[in-house]
Amino acid sequence: MIVFGAALVVGLIYTVLSLSRDLQAERGTSIFPYLLLGVALLVALGFEFVNGFHDTANAVATVIYTHSMEPHLAVAWSGMWNFVGVLLSTGAVAFTIITLLPVELILQVGSGAGFAMVFALLIAAILWNLGTWYFGLPASSSHTMVGSIIGVGIANQLMNPRQGTSGVDWGQAMGVGRSLLVSPLVGFFMAAVLLMICKAIIKDRQLYQAPTTGDPPPFWIRGLLVFTCTGVSFFHGSNDGQKGMGLIMLILIGTVPTTYALNRAVSPAQTQDFLAVSQQTVQMLNTHVEPSAVVGDPRDDLTAYIRTKEFNANTMLALRQVISGIGDETAIYKQLKNVPSNMTRNFRNDMYVVSEAIRLIEKSGKSTFTADEEKILANYKKHIDLATKFIPTWVKVAVAMALGLGTMIGWKRIVVTVGEKIGKDHLTYGQGAAAEITAMATIGMADYWGLPVSTTHVLSSGVAGTMAANKTGLQWGTVRNLALAWVLTLPAAMILSGFLFWALRNAFQS
């Protein structure tokens, strides 16, 4: 606890000092961007804070109700491992969440529309998470975020009706739909089967009876529960923490682009390497450009491709033009840190559309590139991502603090629901272990095989599964409320964020 407290103090000082040092590079006369930055950062960190206490139960409910850990120690332990998880995360997931947002809003993130998008989706996610937390309902924070993103996408398209809803990533909504079906089934049956296997193999009746004293379980099962609590906390930090980081980077790019739009730490050697790779890519693309292809503004053409996902001969030409332009300008400035302030946003936007276009071409599976040519494209993408997809350490530290602190506050409501209100009997040592092992295994499956599962849904369903396997019955009122909250999360977050986007966009325009 003392170590964690000290880490928080050091982290806070480091964050404030780093941010103020970075801001010295900005030469604005107006205080408005700084105010906006302060508010936006508070909202983004508030989202992580709420996410922390909303999801704590996934990690600590079973260790608390099996007396494996003292509750306050358990939440501090979980908070610490969330903190470590965020700090050790690679940041790779952080930008995935951004790719789900409407591309035209990403490109104008410093405008009113861009800020309306960021604020709308963060506030909507916070509101839904707070609402479900208030009623003690463990709903999925990831589904809430996806719903908020889709809501902004739909509202944006409705406000620009000519474009239809082509910019909305409906695949994400389908993923949530699959998760709604898969997660409860995986959690329920995996935990139930695990408990039944344990009962068949380990003939210790004490494990399968509700504890009558406050004594902890046998050492090995206690160790297992603490290990799974640690794992779930760590992976929650390393995964959910990154969602906030990506959004904070959008805010920073929008408010103080000079400092954050481009990675100024890219070295001269890396820049030279980039120029060579850029030339190689342009030459390769030249062999694919059709003579009949025409292009207006190449970035607009690529943006249209990202939005509609319809590749044509002009897209290839536009891709080559933008890549060629980025290479030429990089050659002029020698290093990214020499790019003039008024050009950083344009430079970044060019790099962003190229990276996204390449990602979509690779993902489409319809490209005409050979395997070697695809390697050249992937290598080029890796280089431009180094310039645009970076996360300053202080952002990681700030998110780690918000998530870690959130984990330690307000956790009781959902812990009580998971521990007391799903089954009709007290959670036994065996049930706690089966449910938590299932939750941790699920995180692994989701990470490695990309399974569409929610840890929150799996743990709650896992507890229910073990109750069913123990033939102790379920509290159907709670089960009904959980199912309702899970099904409503996506549409509710969509409606909330869509409405907020509309309102904020009008407010920023007036």
Partner: protein, 75 residues
């Protein structure tokens, strides 16, 4: 929390349950054989009183359970 304080909460809960049971009995007794409008109205009113008593009993139970959790689980 001291045992005495827990006992007070337990007694408060039991008293609330007693009042709830009484409200149920009152409502039940008001289901008259004459099936009149007046009797129906009185029966409905008794049902509202029963709902209020149930809410009070549930709140008392929650309060007692919350304090018990603090003793048994330390949170």
């Amino acid at each position: 929390m001291e045992n005495a304080e827990l006992d007070q909460l337990r007694l408060k809960y039991k008293a609330a349950v007693d009042r709830w049971i009484e409200a149920i009995r009152t409502e039940e007794n008001l289901a008259k054989i004459d099936h009149s409008m007046v009797a129906d109205e009185a029966w409905d009113q008794a049902n509202f009183a029963e709902q209020d008593a149930r809410n009070v009993a549930k709140a008392a139970r929650q309060e007692y359970a919350d304090e018990l959790r603090k003793v048994l689980y330390n949170f």
